[in-house]
């Protein structure tokens, strides 16, 4: 790497600390607020201890985690194979697929809700009122982000040549994709999964408008009655998502080297 001059290094440190301060300040404030005891400045962890007993909270966390899992499955089963196939066999479809995958980010959440509410009324005949049926819309919501992550990986390796090499060596298409392509775009797939999980855990608008009790909806309700507990849960959720963001790609890397 190029050696940095003194001034560059100072600037870098300044910018990093400004951004770091900007990002950390609300988190520190949350930690401060959620551990306050009374007006005299004492501290305790009562609101953190009260998380398990808050009405509906643990259930909603379970629902959100299941939804995140379902969205990840949706990405792995639907998006990743489609993208690989289009990349290898239907290069002309790359642009249309990209546009299609980016649509959910271009359409405001409220419009999506208006559009899918009738579909959900129909879906409820099959799935009842289970909040897990949100997985359908969540999978679609994660496409723009998952697409970006997987696409970057697909472009960084010469997947076409790798696929041709595998096939001349006798590998069928499924074996080629499972044994050669996927291991080489694993970083992108992991990234797509992490982003999807973070997105689903943080989603509020759609679940609230469709009247499903996901984690964010319950946190919001809670905030109106028990401010401290709500902030404690929010902070816990943030930390959880952060740990996930760091942990999953790291574990992927370790396996690659080992």
């Amino acid at each position: 790497m190029k050696k940095l001059t003194g001034i560059t290094r100072v600037w870098r440190a300044v910018i990093l600390s400004i951004i770091g301060f900007y990002m950390l300040l609300p988190i520190v404030a949350m930690a401060d607020f959620s551990t306050r005891a009374g007006a005299d400045g004492g501290r305790n962890f009562d609101s953190w201890a009260a998380i398990p007993s808050a009405p509906g909270l643990l259930e909603s966390i379970a629902v959100s985690l299941q939804l995140a899992l379902l969205a990840v499955i949706g990405i792995l089963v639907l998006l990743v194979p489609t993208m690989i196939w289009v990349h290898l066999r239907l290069p002309l479809m790359r642009r249309p697929l990209e546009v299609l995958c980016l649509l959910p980010i271009a359409i405001p959440a409220i419009v999506i809700v208006v559009g899918i509410a009738p579909i959900y009324r129909w879906l409820s005949q099959f799935f009842g009122s289970s909040p897990l049926s949100l997985a359908f819309v969540y999978t679609i919501l994660t496409f723009p982000f998952a697409y970006r992550a997987v696409n970057t990986s697909l472009r960084s390796v010469d997947v076409n040549t790798l696929a041709e090499a595998a096939r001349t060596l006798g590998a069928s298409w499924p074996r080629t994709i499972a044994g050669v392509i996927i291991p080489n775009i694993r970083a992108g797939i992991l990234g797509a999964c992490v982003i999807s999980i973070a997105l689903v855990l943080g989603e509020f608008t759609i679940s609230s408008l469709l009247n499903y009790e996901t984690m964010q909806v319950v946190i919001n309700l809670l905030g109106k009655r028990e401010g401290q507990i709500s902030v404690a849960v929010s902070l816990a959720a943030l930390i959880f998502a952060f740990v996930l963001l760091v942990a999953i790609p790291t574990s992927g890397k370790k396996q690659e080297v080992g």
């Binding site: 390796v157 010469d158 040549t161 790798l162 041709e164 090499a165 595998a166 096939r167 001349t168 060596l169 006798g170 590998a171 069928s172 298409w173 074996r175 050669v180 291991p183 080489n184 690659e256």
Partner: protein, 354 residues
């Protein structure tokens, strides 16, 4: 191998046809490769040589034509069911596998070599063949470009393919590695007796290793012959100009002899038979003699080792490239006058473009 089998061509490509929109990549392309033969397809980019190779590999669909390998029609067989070992132009090793795992990959997919021990032994043997058995545990990104292409060669040969397909495997390498690996490919190919199709745009590569070289133009074969014959007896101006160096000089063809520069040489079949033409002269078909009276003047002399290349300006300003032994280098200093003596070596004479 029974004598019956060896008399059968290993590969027959019959009237292959393929168009990409208006571009005809293969136009009634036919080629036979004998058992154990190394055929090189040579041509400028876009002449269809890679399309032909990919069609044989099953990676390219055809509009028409038939592909027969070892007597079996495989035209409609999928790439994964054909026994072809292929080495690609770009690095194609699987990045997440070691060199040895790469070589084992094709074996692992074959039922008869499912045993792990036998597979590993075979992989190491193949890596030994390309001189890389000590690097078996390395990942592709830890190997140099030349090493990667060697492993790719070992991987392609490990499955004992019907045909080895080389798609410009050397063009990403630097000059020294390139000529080294080129000779090594030939050595290994002869050692294993693998029928091989080698596609390249580099004539030195093609002439250097192949039993026969096919020059392609616009989707079909212009000529296919041994390297020496291709060089000495081209059947068309295209082949004469593409293979080796030529200088076109105006001449008069009379009675199958080209008259030029006060001398005459026989013309090759396929040449203009009578009247004005352009003789395509090879640098080594002319000997220079010092001649102070001459209007032809040495312009530059470049030393190439055992020979030197002399560029002579003729009275009509045309530049003629001539090859001379290096010990004559002092005789032909720039500015000195020279005369010519032609060897009795047939030349190709092409019509003068209108």
């Amino acid at each position: 191998m029974s004598s019956n089998e060896s008399s059968l061509p290993a590969v027959q490509l019959n009237s292959l046809r393929r168009a990409f929109g208006p571009v005809v990549a293969l136009n009634d392309f036919s080629l036979e490769i004998a058992q154990g033969e190394l055929v090189a397809l040579l041509g400028p980019s876009g002449c269809g040589k890679t399309t032909a190779l990919r069609a044989l590999a099953g990676l390219q669909d055809l509009d028409a034509g038939q592909i027969v390998v070892q007597g079996k029609d495989i035209t409609s067989l999928r790439a994964s069911k054909r026994d072809m070992g292929m080495v690609f132009q770009s690095y194609s090793l699987f990045p997440h596998m070691t060199a040895q795992e790469n070589v084992e990959y094709g074996l692992r997919l074959r039922k008869e070599s499912r045993q792990k021990v036998g597979r590993a032994k075979r992989a190491i043997e193949m890596l030994e063949l390309v001189g890389l058995d000590t690097q078996a545990k390395r990942f592709p990104h830890q190997l140099s470009g030349g090493q990667q292409q060697r492993v790719a060669l070992a991987r392609a040969l490990a499955i004992a393919p019907d045909v080895l397909l080389l798609d410009e495997p050397l063009s990403a390498l630097d000059a020294k590695v390139r000529s080294q690996l080129r000779d090594e490919i030939r050595r290994i190919q002869l050692e294993l007796g693998t029928t091989t199709l080698f596609v390249t745009h580099d004539q030195e590569e093609a002439l250097g290793v192949a039993d026969r070289v096919g020059v392609m133009s616009e989707g079909s074969l212009a000529q296919i012959a041994s390297p020496a014959e291709l060089y000495e007896r081209p059947n068309s101006a295209l082949v004469a100009e593409f293979v080796g160096l030529t200088t076109p000089l105006p001449c008069e063809v009379i009675d199958r002899r080209a008259h030029l520069l006060g001398s005459s040489v026989p013309v090759l079949p396929g040449s203009v038979t009578t009247g004005p033409a352009l003789a395509l002269l090879r640098p080594e078909s002319i000997d220079l003699v010092p001649d102070k009276q001459s209007d032809s003047i040495v312009l530059t002399v470049s030393f190439l080792g055992s020979v030197c290349r002399v560029i002579v300006q003729l009275p009509n300003k045309t530049l003629l490239t001539v090859q001379a032994p290096s010990d004559q280098i002092s005789t032909f200093s720039p500015g000195s006058g020279v005369g010519f003596s032609f060897r009795e070596q047939p030349v190709f004479a092409k019509g003068i473009p209108a």
